[in-house]
């Protein structure tokens, strides 16, 4: 039995933060039903770099595997009524729309709770449900700036830096934390504490992830950018090897004597001397030779991988983080694994409305003719 087997999630999540949260719940065994609309798709369905017409975009495919999919027009009262009937038979609703959209659709938490007192509404937003910036449009890097994370990221003496649009770090960590928070709320419901509306702000989370820097700042310490350096290492940085490949290296203080002996370098306790010696040692070796040399001395070292390098380590240094779907295509995997209830990819990402009929019949309890009428009126969309 999987950890969240028996739990049903209505996934109104889009792009990364919402959709990836629901995906993680699906990986834990929840039945996740992705809810789209005849007039509004998950934008990831349109973010394609492929030339092949009709092919499912890689970003959507990667983020929405292990889900079922339905399509309901939530702008129409009949569509809202269908969703509320599903809410009665669900445990969780996940959404990350712009603030106010759920209320505009007549799907406020109050209304969901009226349908099901034990429902959990997880609102994953950029800046939370409240506060003067709650309605301010933002992406991951906006939140890195506002939270303080960008302030502490950067080269020593240089400008602040962000993870950028290809990492979008706040979106990724939001999914990890939100999945945990929803599971926590499920436990609360099982203890008889009733449903709840979870306000999950990515800006708050990004700030929490540098909580120790805030603790330092509140004590009057100057919090600055330190490049790659960290307190516990006399030297930590990236260095170019002879083949032009970057190598990341952290020299712990206890390794200094052996490093000094291996490089015939004398006293390396002075930072400049240590850096000079390491730069020369790197330039004298290829990246692989350098990693082997330093690791052999007990010094943490690794090649700075690009995407191809990451893939080359698949199956050796990591296994689950990416997976293949049944077509052999790359999809997001799992950040963790469970020995007794393994996470697995069991179904590929669905087409729009792939299971509208089945879900409305089996879960919502509508008759065949009712569903046909909904489809004829354009209230629901049934995949051909």
């Amino acid at each position: 039995m999987k950890l969240l087997e028996g739990c049903r999630v209505l996934d109104l999540g889009i792009i990364t933060a919402g959709a990836a949260t629901a995906a993680l719940l699906a990986d834990f065994g929840a039945e996740v039903i992705k809810v789209e609309s005849p007039t509004y798709r998950d934008p990831f369905r349109a973010w394609s770099a492929q030339d092949e017409p009709g092919a499912m975009p890689a970003l959507f495919r990667a983020t929405n595997r292990n889900k079922r999919a339905i399509s309901i027009d939530l702008k129409r009262p009949e569509g809202q009524a269908i969703l509320l009937r599903l809410v009665r038979r669900a445990d969780v609703v996940v959404e990350n729309f712009r603030r106010g959209v759920m209320e505009g659709l007549g799907l406020s938490f109050a209304r969901l709770r009226e349908a099901n007192p034990d429902i959990i509404l997880a609102s994953i937003s950029s800046q939370g449900e409240t506060g003067p910036d709650a309605g301010h449009v933002s992406y991951g890097s906006t939140l890195e700036a506002l939270s303080g994370l960008a302030w502490v990221t950067g080269y020593e003496g240089g400008k602040p830096e962000v993870s950028g649009r290809d990492v979008n770090y706040p979106d990724q960590i939001a999914a990890l934390f939100a999945a945990g928070a929803i599971a926590t709320a499920l436990r609360s419901v099982r203890k008889g504490e009733g449903g709840s509306h979870l306000d999950l702000s990515q800006r708050d989370l990004a700030a929490f992830m540098i909580g120790d820097r805030f603790a330092a700042a509140s004590q009057g310490e100057t919090v600055s950018r330190q490049g790659n350096a960290q307190l516990q290492y006399p030297l930590q940085d990236c260095f170019l090897a002879s083949d032009g490949i970057w190598v990341a290296l952290s020299v712990p203080a206890p390794a200094l004597p052996s490093l000094s002996e291996a490089l015939a370098a004398g006293d390396l306790h002075h930072p400049d001397a240590l850096r000079t010696v390491v730069v020369a040692a790197m330039k004298a070796r290829s990246a692989r030779e350098a990693v082997s040399f330093f690791v052999g001395l007990g010094v943490p070292a690794a090649i700075v991988n690009d995407g191809n390098g990451m893939m080359a380590d698949w199956g050796e240094a990591w296994q689950y983080a990416l997976q293949r779907d049944e077509q052999g295509l790359t999809v997001k995997g799992f950040p963790l694994q469970v020995d007794e209830a393994p996470l697995a990819i069991e179904r590929p990402a669905p087409q729009v409305g792939a299971e509208t009929y089945a879900v409305l019949a089996e879960i919502a309890g509508y008759s065949r003719s009712e569903i046909a009428d909904f489809a004829a009126a354009g209230i629901v969309e049934i995949a051909r």
Binding site: L3, L24, F28, A49, A55, A62, A81, L84, F109, E114, P132, H136, A145, L146, S147, G148, A150, V152, G154, E161, V162, G164, V167, N168, Q172, L176, A181, A183, R187, G194, L198, D199, R203, F208, M209, F214, A215, A217, S218, Q219, N228, W246, V247, S250, P300, V304, N305, D306, G307, M310, A317, W318, Y320, A321, T330, L336, Q337, V338, E340, A364
Partner: protein
């Protein structure tokens, strides 16, 4: 706002062996900190002195107890444990609580390895370093302890799923959370996904989203294609109307010039003015606040984001980023839902 404590009554043990890298201590500390905020009694074993800052220790230890009791005794009375591989090997699975998260640096074949590695080299292996910074300079890590804390979030997610499970109490659940699996999972867009022909990497001055100077600091220029017209309207800069910026493709070909023009405009504005302009024109531009400044940000104050770390310490840090909104409000709202 209301807070719930779904883990009240649970005892959580953080036991990371002295030989383990600091990253695992930080990750267990983050997961334990979240569980403590949600009501668990979290107990840390007193281990060797670690290399991270006192403020980090202070932040992670908030709401926890420190114990000098024996490892076996502590693990014996806990309901949940956060351990490393060495602790698992020493105690055996039977010597650990039924719900246990085992943290490691690597996954798969190297999970049990004692290769010298840490959060920085894991970020290198996971491609994260290659994504941040300027291509003319060294690859760059994100500030603070992002890698280890992200592993802490992974462990928390796994433990929360286990503690929400309808599986019978006492049935073992073993969560395996590794730093490398977590970081590759976070950095999934860096790999060569089918249909993409260009590998992403750090682009520095060639990035569409840039950190630019302004009158009193920096602001991050963030926008998507649909935002372009509003961005032009907000900045009221005639040069942006030139043909070389008329399409996304032409803007990408002139990113340096574009950034220079926008930065020139930003230099006449404070971050507060840029923030107001962004809100007025619905643009995702973000002023860069320092932690010291963020304490007084009106949005953070309105959300009561900061709280004291312990009574009377005077130290402030962000609260748990989970708000249980007041459901009493929902109870009072009379809304009729059609019968189903």
């Amino acid at each position: 706002m209301t807070a719930r404590c779904p883990y009240a009554g649970l005892t959580v043990a953080e036991v990371i062996s002295d030989a383990a890298d600091d990253a695992l201590v930080l990750a267990a500390g983050m997961a334990g900190r979240i569980l403590a905020d949600l009501g668990a009694e979290v107990i840390c074993r007193r281990g060797r002195k670690r290399g991270f800052e006192d403020s980090t220790e202070l932040f992670l230890s908030c709401g926890k107890a420190l114990s000098s009791e024996g490892e076996g005794e502590l693990l014996g009375r806990a309901d949940v444990a956060l351990v490393d591989g060495a602790t698992l090997r020493e105690r055996g699975r039977a010597g650990l609580p039924s719900v246990t998260a085992v943290l490691s640096l690597f996954g798969r074949k190297l999970a049990e390895s004692d290769l010298p590695a840490n959060a920085f080299t894991a970020a290198a292996s996971a491609g994260l370093l290659a994504m941040v910074g300027d291509p003319q300079h060294e690859p760059l890590r994100l500030g603070g302890h992002q890698e280890a804390f992200a592993l802490g979030l992974s462990a928390y997610a796994g433990l929360a799923a286990a503690l929400a499970s309808a599986r019978s109490n006492g049935v073992p659940v073993t969560i395996r959370a590794s730093l490398l699996e977590t970081l590759v999972w976070l950095n999934w867009k860096a790999v060569p996904l089918e249909g993409y022909h260009v590998l992403p990497g750090r682009t520095g001055a060639a990035a569409e989203w840039q950190v630019l100077r302004c009158a009193d600091g920096y602001a991050v220029l963030v926008y998507q294609e649909p935002d372009w017209l509003r961005l032009k309207a907000a900045l009221a800069e005639p040069a942006l109307d030139e043909p070389r910026f008329s399409t996304r493709a032409s803007r990408l070909a002139h990113l340096g010039e574009l950034a220079a023009i926008i930065e020139r405009r930003f230099l006449a504005l404070t971050r507060r003015e840029i923030h107001a302009l962004a809100r007025q024109h619905r643009l995702p531009i973000g002023p860069v606040w320092s932690p010291a400044e963020a304490f007084d940000e009106p949005h953070n104050r309105a959300r009561c984001l900061f709280e004291p770390l312990g009574a009377g310490s005077g130290v402030q840090a962000p609260r748990l980023p989970l708000v249980w909104l007041d459901h009493a409000e929902a109870c009072q709202t009379e809304i009729t839902v059609g019968a189903a």
